[in-house]
Amino acid sequence: MSKVMGAVNRKDGRAKVTGNATYAAEHQIPGLLHGYLVTASIGSGQIKSIDTSQAEKAKGVVAVFTHKNPPKIFKPSNNFISSKIYEARLPLSDAQVHYGGQIIGLVVADTFEQAKHAAHLVKVEYETQSPLTEFQKATFKEAPPFMGEELKFEKGNVATVNNAAVKIEATYTTTTELNAPMEPHAIIAQWQGADALTIYEPTQWVMGSQRTYAELFGLPAERVRIITPYLGGGFGSKAMPWPHGILCAAVARHLQRPVKVVLSRRQMTVNAGHRSETEQTIGLAAAADGKLMAIAHDVKSSTSPVDTFTEPCTRVTPVMYSAPNLRYAQELAIMNVGTPTFMRAPGENPGMWALESAMDELAWSLKLDPVELRLRNQTQEHQHQNLPFSAKHFTDCLKVGAERFGWKDRSRQVRSLLRDGQLVGWGMAGATFPALQGVATVKVRLLPDSTVHVLTAGNDMGTGAYTMVAGVAAETLGVSVEKVRVEMGDSQLPDGGMAGGSMMTASLAPAVIKACQDVLKSADCNDATDAWAALRQSGRAAFEATATSAPPEGEKKWAFQSWGAHFCEVTVDEEIGRLQITRWLSVMDIGRVMNAKTAASQVRGGVIMGIGQALMEECLLDPNIGYPVVYDLATYHFPSHADIPRIDVVFVGEPDLNFNLAGARGVGEIGITGVSAVIANAVYHATGKRIRSLPLTPEKLMADFRALTADETRDAQEMKELIASNKSHERVAGHSQNV
């Protein structure tokens, strides 16, 4: 099984580019009604009154729901094993407004336009409190465990390290980032009577959604069917029901009509998750030879008043570098913001921004090659779990990367390279993501028409799972990939686990292999060609087998983790704060590479998303009203093609057979980790300016210029007067909700 599959084109590519791939909101359902959300225009307070009379009289309106007449919803157990929702507070449960843009109503009408128009006609009066949306003003407390894992740890004693040759301590920040998948969040809910529900919704976790919706409506799980053959990205924000989905399904039951709700881009800025701001302080102490003596990592992040999500940045601290004294801790604050959630490499992404920036600072302080510093300090064991890593090839990532990039030819001084009047800088940083695996079941059928049919409820969020499943089946059965038909993303199929945590490949591939082996065994043949012949002779309808992937056998013996290294070149026109990334190389160790083409695409996608984080992504909230001032894909900046250089991706390593039968550890998230650090490190090399707050916008890059904070630029009295004279801070009825 050690053979790399090679580069296989997407099975679903043609359907997607020709428009034949049907996404959730595109399903045509007879008698479909359209829902439009009414959302709060204040950041904190209570609804004093809500007048829906105008809206109800508007043309085409079927019903208007608010907290005065909420549809019936049961509180779910809300844990990952039985059922999980993103936001513990159920929609329309009371008059409280916890954050700007919170859902306070739903208008249902015959057409989308009618529903949207009527949503404008809902009049709301609020009792307004001043919202807390500024991170610096929040109150932080010790963070609770993250999915059962303590976010604090200490070995040795960091405080007593006093004979270090070099010590550095610095604070790194990231801003609020939006998952912003290409396909907006959307749902169609269709009831068959009062006790059977079909849902078309982009979900990364079909069976989890089935269990959760079942609990929300007091049904046995099998009475709920979730259909998600395609997702247009999710990046962690589509794994569970959000309030809009719950509300849509509840209203559809109440009305006994199918109802569709699609979030606007504006609504997606608060009602579909985000990555919290973070503030991380890293302390490093090292001997003169670069050996780390101590690592300290303290993290702050924020959550909403209605659920708890901690951005688990410290998960990288015990896995990257070895130190006899190592300590980490996280704090969390409640702010009047929408609920943050998983976003591509939650924890690892901001964690690596801070840690890999700090390692670069340490390397400069020690006058040591940053590649060499990392080689000298890598750890062979997970320092929190006390387990050795299985199949770790971080050394190869660093060495192959350095070789291919020409790292030895770099200049050893900052501000030492000039090209066309611009400063040139090189940077490097590590990458990492844990290898996770769920339990997945796959059914394989050999059919007499010489095709193979693979079925599972696990789904493809756009990453290439259809292609991976087809490739593994083809390889195991000894047939061409064209002979394999894959059906995914329907809860009536066998439970295929979650497309999250980069684990779909690791969950599915072993089950596919096992089911294919079993089907050949049941046919008593060595490959599918023989089996098809035997099948036709037997006159049977099909040979079939169902298999389930087991959790890794070595779970107690090994820690499983993927590794990587990024290298990049930037040019900086520092007079006008203009930066361009001109070269990029990523070297990854992800165990077995199942499909060289789609795997490299995943790494590139991660790098591009990381470049967005590094240079431009920022969801700013108005400090007085508490609402994001970005509202679409034009105002929330992410990279355009012109921002992206050619991205070279190289894979190293070997199949991780301690992990699973396929040896694959997954590749969806590792690409984004370390990206913002490598860019900031290259900027330092180019300019001598160490920037510790993301994104690296022009004002931070401009030479001889320090961007003042808002508080520094206007004196307090002047600001007070401005606010006092500004009518915009009084919220008035009739101006009371947004669309």
Binding site: G577, D622, V629, Y631, S640, M702, A707, T713, S728
Partner: protein, 241 residues
């Protein structure tokens, strides 16, 4: 200069369906104006301006009022302002010509009015006077990403040199005001001076001397000065970018 300004605007898809009149008539950009969740004096006169005390990183430096600090987003219009274009309009009272500098308005106490186009008037032509030294014109656009973003600062500049002396010059700035901002003071200062970095730096200072930055856009004052100096240098060297 004009071609380069147009090419730097929007995205290829938007440019393919855009019109010249539509570009000139686009409303000012401000997240508080575009999002109906917020009050806005431009959308609803006298409802307040949350941008004054809110997030105003991209907002105006010049010619703003307490009613409105939004900026005009067009790239093309910055070049048209520099080139002394004339907007020809036709309405119930017949044809009239509006010099480009008088076409867009500053917000004052009527931020709801972006232009001096009267009701029922239609733009029928844009007249571009011949300007031989426009061939050394420069359009420099600085923004948060390399494409498909409005200018933080943009500069349209053209310098006409006789020997090393500035015979004539055009200078307009985008991203700084409710309208494309032609800086005649800086132009007047430059005429007759030697074309060098010190002169251009001084001109940039003059162009921004009445700037009133807000809490988050202070950097734009410095960025505008540097962009002006850079653009004038480039134009004096023959014009590229």
């Amino acid at each position: 200069m004009l071609a380069r300004a147009i090419l730097s605007g929007a995205s290829q898809q938007i440019r393919n369906v855009a019109t010249v009149g539509g570009n000139i008539l686009q409303r000012t950009r401000c997240p508080y104006y575009y999002d109906t969740a917020f009050p806005c004096n431009k959308r609803e006169p006298d409802s307040g301006c949350p941008a004054l005390t809110g997030i105003n990183r991209t907002h105006a430096l010049l010619g703003a009022s307490d009613q409105c600090v939004a900026v005009h987003p067009s790239d093309m219009c910055v070049a048209l302002a520099a080139l002394d274009a004339v907007v020809e309009v036709t309405g119930p009272k017949g044809k009239r010509q509006i010099p480009f500098g008088d076409f867009h308005r500053l917000p004052g106490n009527t931020p709801e009015r972006d232009t001096n186009l009267e009701p029922e008037e239609l733009i029928t032509a844009i007249l571009l006077p011949l300007l031989p030294f426009a061939k050394s014109g420069v359009y420099l656009k600085l923004r948060d990403r390399a494409s498909y973003a409005f200018a933080l600062i943009s500069v349209a500049a053209a310098v006409d040199l006789a020997e090393e002396q500035i015979k004539d010059v055009r200078l307009a700035i985008g991203g700084v005001a409710h309208k494309p901002w032609r800086s005649q003071e800086a132009e007047q200062f430059l005429i007759g001076k030697a074309a060098n970095a010190a002169t251009f730096e001084e001109a940039a200072k003059i162009a921004l001397q009445s700037a009133k930055p807000l809490a988050h856009n202070r950097f734009k004052v410095e960025l505008a000065k540097r962009a002006i100096k850079r653009s004038l240098m480039l134009s004096a060297a023959g014009g590229v970018v």
